[in-house]
Symmetry: C2
Subunit: 224 residues, 2 copies
Amino acid sequence: MKIAVLGTGGVGRTIADKLLSAGHDVRMGSRTASSEKASGWAASAGPHGSHGTFADAAAFGQVIFNCTAGTGSLPALEMAGRENLAGKILIDLSNPLDFSRGMPPTLTVSNDDSLGERIQRAFPEARVVKTLNTVTARVMVEPSLVPGDHVLFLSGNEPEAKAQVAEWLTSWFGWTRKNLIDLGDITSARGVEMYLPLWIRMMLARGHPFFNIAVASGGPPGAK
Amino acid sequence: MKIAVLGTGGVGRTIADKLLSAGHDVRMGSRTASSEKASGWAASAGPHGSHGTFADAAAFGQVIFNCTAGTGSLPALEMAGRENLAGKILIDLSNPLDFSRGMPPTLTVSNDDSLGERIQRAFPEARVVKTLNTVTARVMVEPSLVPGDHVLFLSGNEPEAKAQVAEWLTSWFGWTRKNLIDLGDITSARGVEMYLPLWIRMMLARGHPFFNIAVASGGPPGAK
């Protein structure tokens, strides 16, 4: 499959490498066609990896991963071009983290809105599915780095798009179906984005990012 | 031990009942001395339960549980009286949820501040420990309702106060020590309060509140 990965940071490279190893054709998109990070990645990627502008990548991809930093996601997607996003599944991994005041970061949008919603509103013809933003990059593509039945969430307005992304998360990245939680429409992106401050505190307390949450569930007392 | 429970809602009554059954003397505090909810609770509580104003309860308690609704917590604690809080451990269970626009609620404070911090700033002589706010009331006092090693967080500026609260959580409520996560100083209350929107979405998706998160942890790849 032809896949666009927008963003050249650690998340973008990790996702792009995994997609290549799963046999896909991957184009990494960046702000300029001459990005050193993107061209460096493409040079080592072999015949199935290429790079270009956000628009080059988005035009190429049948599906698009938004791996840009949250503060730059909307401008990056504008550069990608709405005609290149229309009708396609846009997997949004971004977190609206603002590190300008140091650690821990704050969120640039939260509470009664979310970056996932802003992206869906700005590009109503894209089929936005928010997922993967609640774990570190290596765990996104290798969930077995963390033991047990830890979970991922999916938020999006289209059940079909979420079902398709769930299928890809299992077949491409190794997630188990029962550990994928459909959280609701794109407004539920507020939940997974506002979880980041807790994730960061847990990461600081633990000293590394190779963890994730599992959901332990009982039932109403007496209902078993 | 003499314990104050501020708040007459489901959380307050659940906490108060559990403390009574653990052998403590519990005074429930409310806005007025003639609160029907508080007097009704006290009437059925037996000789070790009593009720009064927020100030009556706070003066009585050697430790204070803030079980008021988040939107009313600061006014309630003002009524409790700073002299009645000074030097005491104040266990803050509140969540700053605003339901005025329906479900799901928003938070009245978040991102670069939290209700836990506001309470600590308003009452600098109280020893505020934020905990228990991430699970439903029944699970707070009966963690075995949910199977497995699910977790609670503690946030507060004083390690000694957090250690004391951790001891009470295990001996009074049945939590296991290894499942209590010290998240850091009171600013980490942002993390556990901002988790609520995700908790609420999970509760809606699941159809009941009898769940909690566990933390699955690996290690840096290659570091095992």
